[in-house]
Amino acid sequence: MDEALLRSLTPSVLGILVRRGADFAAAEDAVQDALVEAVRVWPADPPRDPKGWLVTVAWRRFLDATRADAARRRREDLVDEEPAPGPAPAVDDTLQLYFLCAHPSLTPSSAVALTLRAVGGLTTRQIAQAYLVPEATMAQRISRAKRTVSGVRFDQPGDVATVLRVLYLVFNEGYSGDVDLAAEAIRLTRQLAAAIDHPEVAGLLALMLLHHARRATRTAPDGSLVPLAEQDRGRWDTASIAEGVEILQAALARDRLGEFQAQAAIAALHADAPTAEETDWVQIVEWYDELVRLTDSPVVRLNRAVAVGEADGPRAGLAALAALDDSLPRHAAVAAYLHERDGDLATAARLYAEAARKAPNLAERDHLTRQAARLNARRCR
């Protein structure tokens, strides 16, 4: 059975139910029920019109639930207005669903969970496993999120930027579980790009594709991190890179630059270099200057210092770094790298060890500890 097809139909089926008058929370539950039913029934008995099948089953589930509810509350006025089953309307509410699930009234973790369920068609259990929390906790997070947006009008336009932030979080901060969240983020961003013509949506999709292309080479078989310069470029996914670059170029040509396009441009320059030594660091610094202009983010300035160190030498990188607050995450790691390039191995080793103590994740901590150990061993010889 084609699970990807099934899940890709989720938002438009949900949109149809809402447009028929179902409230969002109940419609979302009904669509989940229909998806579960499809997984059970389709392998033996595939429908000719999968979307029509889902709409019919979901609508029936919605009516059943509403009837049960209405019977409980002795209120049966809504259920009699069953529309005739027929072809799904041409209007597609996928975009509206993205806006709703990323509504600014939601916390980031709620928006992520709701997007993965209502737009992505994942089950609560799958989402709970992906984020390493109990299923009951995730169920509550999702139902609270649905309550939070219950008063939001479905047809009001939303802000693309909030949707992009949610998709970026799904891509960037996933754990590893049964569900490949990075691949799911790409699927959802691709679907969004089909629903709305916007250069930053294209920019984010390009950014994801360019990073995803390097994924297999980012970690060694033992799980340790492999820095960009040491990655086996022959194993980068060239099809994914080509697609990312093409999408990015079309977006840039429209001359409405945004932060995701600029980040994607930097990723593209890395992807484009046949060897680490041939990286066009001068152009990368220029893109970081654009990013600083667009975001004024200290983290971007920190990354820029690394690029400056490559383009103009470690002294220039250290000078750029000196202007930044040393409490920034990864500041010590960047300082360690630049000092090593500058030949000051004692300072570099000390800073690598300091960076390891502050590392926010295990793989990075182990990597930085290894860097410190490597320099200490060399100095002792």
Partner: protein, 135 residues
Amino acid sequence: MAKYLLLKHYRGAPAAVNDVPMDQWTPEEISAHVQYMNDFAARLEGTGEFVDAQALAPEGRWVRYDGEGRPPVTDGPFAETKDLIAGWMVIDVDSYERAVELAGELSAAPGAGGKPIHEWLEVRPFLTAPPTITE
């Protein structure tokens, strides 16, 4: 989205404000305390922030490898061990500020005289999975 450990100590934490050992509370005060902890966990489940809660027995043993083919060596318990973990709660929250807010509420659990214990809890972030985009 980040996970934090709220760590409760038998020993090793700075003294609480309402620092009366539990065996000197009234039975009702103990019940009220237990109820508060259960309600707190249930409320966090309701907000979608609860991950895990566990309590540990105060007495444990030290164990170490003693070489090929030999049984592990055990020792202790050592009454003088300074730091003794009593239990923990794991939460999954949107920010560090939220973790601190929740730890503050947990520390307000009632103790002797029905008054908050003002117990010191240790808040420790989990090391996460590495992000996809770093450079």
